[in-house]
């Protein structure tokens, strides 16, 4: 039980931290919640056995930090498209070619 919870907590923490890199916004909350839950279970188990509680504390801390970073990023990052001159040029070129093709059809 303790080993399984520890493995899930470590995996959850890794996924949470990795998710902060990607622009997937609030989705990071799911692995973070699982990690926090496992962290709390581990904290209780460690306290019950009188062991050092640093590991569950670190796990919970990482999950909370990951969730906060992702949430802040999604709040602060607006949904905007970048100005892309190459794409604009492609569109203009395409239009010019099409006009030539239309002239050819007439």
């Amino acid at each position: 039980m303790k080993l399984l919870t520890s493995i899930i907590a470590i995996l959850g923490a890794i996924i949470t931290i990795a998710s902060t890199i990607f622009p997937i916004g609030n989705l990071t909350i799911f692995p973070a919640l699982i990690t926090i839950l496992c962290g709390i279970i581990l904290l209780k188990l460690h306290k019950k056995e009188g062991n050092n509680i640093l590991f569950p504390k670190v796990i919970i801390g990482l999950a909370v930090a990951g969730a906060l970073i992702s949430s802040c990023r999604s709040l602060l990052t607006a949904d905007k498209i970048a100005e892309d001159q190459k794409f604009e040029q492609r569109q203009e070129k395409s239009n010019k070619e099409a006009v030539e093709d239309l002239e050819g059809l007439e």
Binding site: F22, P23, I24, G25, N26, L27, F30, T77, D79, K80, I81, A82, D84, K86, F87, R90, Q91, S94, N95, A98, V99, D101, L102, E103, L105, E106
Partner: protein
């Protein structure tokens, strides 16, 4: 997967343009040159909608020495935040008659994370003179025959917006042909009645249309792909919900300019 999503967004948009039991005569035009519609594309991951791209649809007038045409342009751009992971710059366009909306040229120029795909169809009656470029394989030229009333996806969308959807009855179905990727796809549209939904125009009564494509792995399914078109003279597609084997998503209208009415 994102490439397919973008394609299906556009395809779903276009397929909405089907005709049910409508006559093939155009009613009054529901759009004008200068119209600009902007959509936000999002994908549903574990119940959370994650936005990833913007789709723009513009109508402009193009003049040659003898005639004028309508230029129907659809672009898809991933948001800045996604560009570092998967950058999409897609262009779909059609040049049509401003009177009958008959297509003369269809062009597609996709750049999806560096993968180039270009396509050009020149309509000559029931024949299409096509030019196709994919990656570094060079240009392939081919001519093929299409059934009458077959259109490309862009001109179909605008054509459908001009059909009298208000005369369709709930449950009406119609198969129609659309040329995409040099293949003729048969799509079935089902008129599912009207529904009032929240849009950028406020709560709006919309026509609800189910879309499915025969022999298509992505857009099959009966009523899982739904397009909402405003039940007014503009017939603006305001919301497209789609379902594919790996999930579902939506395309929502976020901005509109120069609507005709």
């Amino acid at each position: 997967m994102i490439i397919k999503l973008i394609q299906n967004y556009i395809l779903a948009l276009v397929l909405t343009a089907s005709s049910f039991s409508f006559s093939q005569e155009l009613s009054s035009k529901s759009f004008k040159s200068g119209e600009h519609l902007s959509y936000q594309a999002s994908y549903n991951m574990s119940g959370v909608l994650t936005t990833f791209a913007e789709v723009n649809m513009k109508v402009a007038t193009v003049k040659t020495s003898k005639n004028s045409y309508l230029h129907l342009k659809c672009t898809a751009n991933t948001y800045k935040k996604w560009d570092g992971f998967f950058k999409i710059r897609d262009l779909y366009e059609a040049y049509v008659s401003p009177y009958s909306l008959k297509p003369y040229i269809y062009k597609r120029d996709n750049n999806e994370n560096g993968t180039i795909r270009k396509e050009k169809y020149i309509y000559k009656g029931n024949n299409i003179q096509s030019t196709y470029v994919r990656g570094k394989s060079g240009t392939i030229k081919a001519n093929f025959t299409i059934p009458s009333n077959t259109r490309d996806i862009v001109s179909t969308l605008y054509y459908i917006r001009n059909l009298p959807i208000d005369k369709a009855n709930t449950g009406d179905r119609k198969d129609f042909n659309i040329v995409f990727d040099r293949k003729i796809k048969t799509a079935t549209l089902t008129f599912m009645g009207t529904e009032t939904i929240s849009t950028i125009f406020g709560n709006k009564k919309c026509y609800k249309i189910g879309v499915s494509v025969k022999k298509d792995k992505l857009l099959k399914g009966k009523a899982s792909n739904i397009v909402y078109i405003t039940a007014d003279k503009n017939k603006v597609p305001v919301l497209i919900k789609f379902s594919i084997p790996v999930g579902n998503g939506q395309l929502k209208l976020t901005k509109s300019q120069n609507l005709k009415y």
